[in-house]
């Protein structure tokens, strides 16, 4: 299942405090209000994030979900990862190693980490119990 809608990648500034968070939100607001927005926030540059920054991320996620879109985080710096883990918000976002992984994830039905490898079925599993060889572990 593929999507033709564009994916917007935005880089979060180094310091995400109250002032910066407001400026960033004003910047992304038009994209958040589009129809079914698909967004990726690249957090690789983040060196400092406070509660206002986390709140801004949650606000963006809520706005995007309201419009049936999705917001994913990519390339978390160690600092941002620690703050997100500390504030228990890391479990609310899909987080990817890189922005390209996050962008690609929009064109797939399931995120890569949820994908299961194809199941390989052995012939014996199709055989009815009576036809199984006597040395089988399922034999009576």
């Amino acid at each position: 299942m593929e999507s033709n809608r564009p994916v917007v990648v935005k880089r979060i500034p180094e310091r995400l405090n109250m002032k910066q968070a407001r400026a960033f939100l004003a910047e992304v607001q038009p994209m958040l209000r589009s129809d079914r927005p698909q967004m990726v926030f690249d957090c690789s540059q983040v060196k400092q994030m406070d509660a206002a920054g986390v709140e801004m991320l949650l606000h963006c996620l809520a706005e995007v979900m309201k419009r049936d879109g999705d917001l994913k985080l990519a390339a978390l710096s160690a600092q941002s990862a620690v703050v997100l883990e500390m504030t228990r918000t890391d479990r609310l976002f899909e987080i990817y190693e890189s922005s390209s992984d996050a962008v690609l994830s929009f064109s797939r039905f399931l995120p890569a980490n949820l994908k299961q490898p194809p199941t390989v079925l052995s012939i014996s599993s199709y055989m009815p119990a009576a036809e199984k060889r006597p040395d089988s572990e399922f034999a009576a």
Binding site: Q79, T87, R88
Partner: protein
């Protein structure tokens, strides 16, 4: 046997995580309610060491008034050039004609067996005996024969790196911790809680594995799971959880709803409400995550804050918080919508639930209606 000791507390470069977190030399860091330095002094006194001189660049934390060990003959000296001061203090101690002088540089936490070290020193023909771990790491614990004053002076002039004559080696097989990083500080606290070293938490064991310092407060609804140490005047607010060998040093605070797991909260650190602190050392508005191996400075007081060190400032702060809280609550109470039950409620309660009526399928008219359901294909 008469043994005196010189303890030189080395100031670090200031950039190690251990120092950045506590703002002190590693030897002054508190572990389970007491500085590492005090624990080493107590251990030496317990093993019969007499006069002790502690030399440091910055003032050492004072011994508590009601110390659990005999603090007499322990003298603290602050000097801008600690090695020079150590040299003169050592000469002073040697004039009292002890059998030997023990010299320690802190740094590391070492649980030295003084008797075994002295025995090794006197069994071998060296004037100075140093200690090493079985892996060959130097521990900066030395014994100098008291009659060898020049050897001692030479040692101090070269900051314990060079010796006038050949130095003997004692292989130390006891417990030691290098105390270089936040991970080491955490490891020392865990080992103490699990009784792997001689450190005894400063407080009372109220339940097996749960140690409380004087004035520690656990509010209703909070959960504290052993092994855990809550230092003097620490606070665990409502619905907070402290678990898995976590340590709250004195005056540390965990606000409501937060979870502290396998972490150390250093003195005067306050953790905000509703946070998850796991595998970390927190203090001085910094957090070192031991799994991610990263140090993060957090300036937002909603996440990490510092409690005022002065008791009067703390009292003023609480009074201001209360003064701000009461008017806000009053206004909220006046402006809040009334929750008085509506007059129709008893009637509504007496009406039987629609679920208790006869099911629609058993009602003849309803069944007939269903039979006549219009279909666009019919």
């Amino acid at each position: 046997m008469d043994l005196n000791a010189i303890v030189v507390v080395e100031e670090g470069t200031g950039d190690s995580p251990c120092e950045a977190l506590s703002g002190n030399a590693p030897a002054f860091c508190e572990v389970l309610g007491r500085p590492v330095l005090h624990r080493i002094l107590q251990d030496l006194r317990r093993q019969g060491v007499g006069a002790m001189r502690v030399i440091s660049e910055k003032p050492a934390p004072p011994l508590p008034v009601h110390s659990s060990f005999d603090a007499s003959q322990i003298q603290f000296t602050t000097a801008p050039q600690p090695w020079r001061a150590a040299e003169s203090e050592c000469a002073d101690l040697m004039q009292a004609n002890p059998d030997a002088v023990l010299v320690l540089r802190l740094g590391p936490y070492v649980e030295i067996d003084v008797d075994a070290l002295l025995q090794h020193h006197f069994d071998n023909p060296y004037h100075v005996t140093g200690t090493k771990t079985p892996a060959g790491e130097r521990l900066d614990v030395f014994v100098v024969s008291a009659s060898r004053r020049n050897d001692a002076v030479y040692m101090f002039r070269h900051q314990l790196r060079e010796f006038r004559s050949e130095c003997g080696t004692y292989v130390f097989r006891g417990y030691w911790n290098p105390l270089r990083t936040a991970r080491d500080l955490r490891a020392l606290a865990i080992d103490a809680l699990l009784q792997r070293n001689r450190i005894v938490p400063d407080g009372h064991e109220v339940r097996p594995g749960v140690w409380l310092g004087a004035g520690a407060r656990i509010e209703r609804g909070a959960r504290v799971l052993a092994p855990v140490y809550l230092g003097a005047r620490s606070r665990v607010r409502r619905n907070a959880v402290v678990t898995r060998c976590s340590v709250l040093e004195h005056h540390a605070t965990v606000e409501s709803g937060s979870v502290v797991e396998n972490s150390t909260v250093l003195p005067y650190a306050a953790i905000g409400a509703g946070l998850d602190i796991a595998n970390s050392v927190v203090g001085n508005r910094r957090l070192v995550h031991l799994v991610r191996n990263v140090e993060v400075e957090i300036t937002d007081p909603k996440l990490l804050d510092a409690v005022a060190q002065s008791s009067s400032w703390r009292t003023l702060g609480r009074a201001a918080a209360l003064a701000g809280f009461l008017p806000a609550q009053f206004i909220r109470g006046v402006l809040a919508k009334s929750r008085r039950p509506s007059a129709q409620l008893p009637a509504a309660v007496n009406t039987p639930s629609p679920a208790l009526k006869t099911p629609a399928a058993f009602q003849a008219p309803a069944a007939a209606e269903a039979a006549r359901f219009p279909s666009k294909w019919s």
